[in-house]
Symmetry: C2
Subunit: 200 residues, 2 copies
């Protein structure tokens, strides 16, 4: 109860032979709160279900694995983040990255993201989820911006993947070492390098 996510005292009884969305919402909210307060180390299904006032079977009914729950916690923040789209790729990337890092800082999402990456090292299934579902969804707009830059003739198509990974790795490194604040000043110059015109 140290955050505003106080769960109701009243028991959430059955509403009949169908799933209760209120249970799903309570669990998501509890998961968010646990991550914010305890980080990945304190994130257990037991802790989440306790805090949500839900039974563990209810948690597993809605989410098969911890990774699935983490992904939904991340998605639930529904950040109003879009990648700007001008003719200046470096500038667009800089604006987006600064907003993303703010988002990671000001919500539990940074910790959720770190938890997802950690979870992916624990289980191959979680890694597949991260690689084949989470990342593609989250990098779609970003990739489009690189495609546009190709169409403008600024960079070559064969380098899209390489530049995208340079971009992602840069943010991953800072968030995974919990040094977002220290890396702030490096964003703009890094984006200029990542968006630099292909030579020759």
């Amino acid at each position: 109860m140290t955050t505003g996510d106080a769960e109701p005292q009243t028991r959430r009884a059955s509403i009949g032979a169908r799933r209760n969305p209120a249970s799903q919402a309570a669990i998501l909210s509890a998961a968010r709160a646990v991550l914010a307060e305890e980080g990945y180390g304190g994130f257990s299904i037991d802790a989440v279900s306790r805090r949500a006032g839900a039974g563990k079977p209810t948690v597993y009914r809605w989410w098969k694995t911890r990774a699935d729950l983490l992904m939904d916690v991340y998605a639930a923040e529904k950040a109003a983040l879009t990648v700007p789209i001008t003719a200046d790729l470096a500038r667009d990337l800089t604006v987006y990255t600064e907003a993303l890092w703010d988002f990671w800082d000001e919500t539990p999402s940074g910790r959720t993201f770190r938890a997802l990456v950690a979870e992916a090292q624990d289980s191959p299934e979680a890694l597949d989820t991260l690689r084949d579902k989470f990342m593609p969804e989250r990098t779609r707009l970003l990739r489009e911006r690189f495609v546009k830059a190709v169409e403008r003739g600024q960079i070559v198509a064969a380098e899209i993947e390489m530049r995208l990974v340079l971009y992602l790795g840069f943010s991953w490194y800072y968030v995974l070492t919990d040094r977002l604040a220290e890396g702030r000043a490096a964003i703009a110059p890094a984006m200029r390098l990542i968006a630099a015109p292909s030579l020759r």
Copy 2:
């Protein structure tokens, strides 16, 4: 016993009122084998001590935390990796990175590295160890190469940190998503970008 790291059947009894280095060696070897075969998910102190034929107190006597043990497992591989030093930074980085990725692929070190990063998301102490001890040791030679490039007037000093993080993030992304094989072709062009001359 599915690797060559078979542990002795003979019990390692006390050798008196002092630590037995054979126990340390057996535990390191067992930790290496567990990581290679089970990955981070199967890496527990129980599993390691069982495999080493050692008591858990012996493990904790030599290593305070799992992160400390993981760091020693990584260090024990003592890769014969050095960063070449010519006037061509991009080429030096490419040669080094390809060797590093081979090393990560051919030894349990890739998995050990992934385990370390995951462990750092679990505990703040492990993160400190990774950030303040492990990474500085592992990136010393790398940083020196960037310094040399500055001395040659190829890049500006203020960009060293930014370029180093671009470099590290690139490898982190591929190893943490278990996609080293797929990223191989991107190494050389990425290194050319990271080592590109500072403009103006």
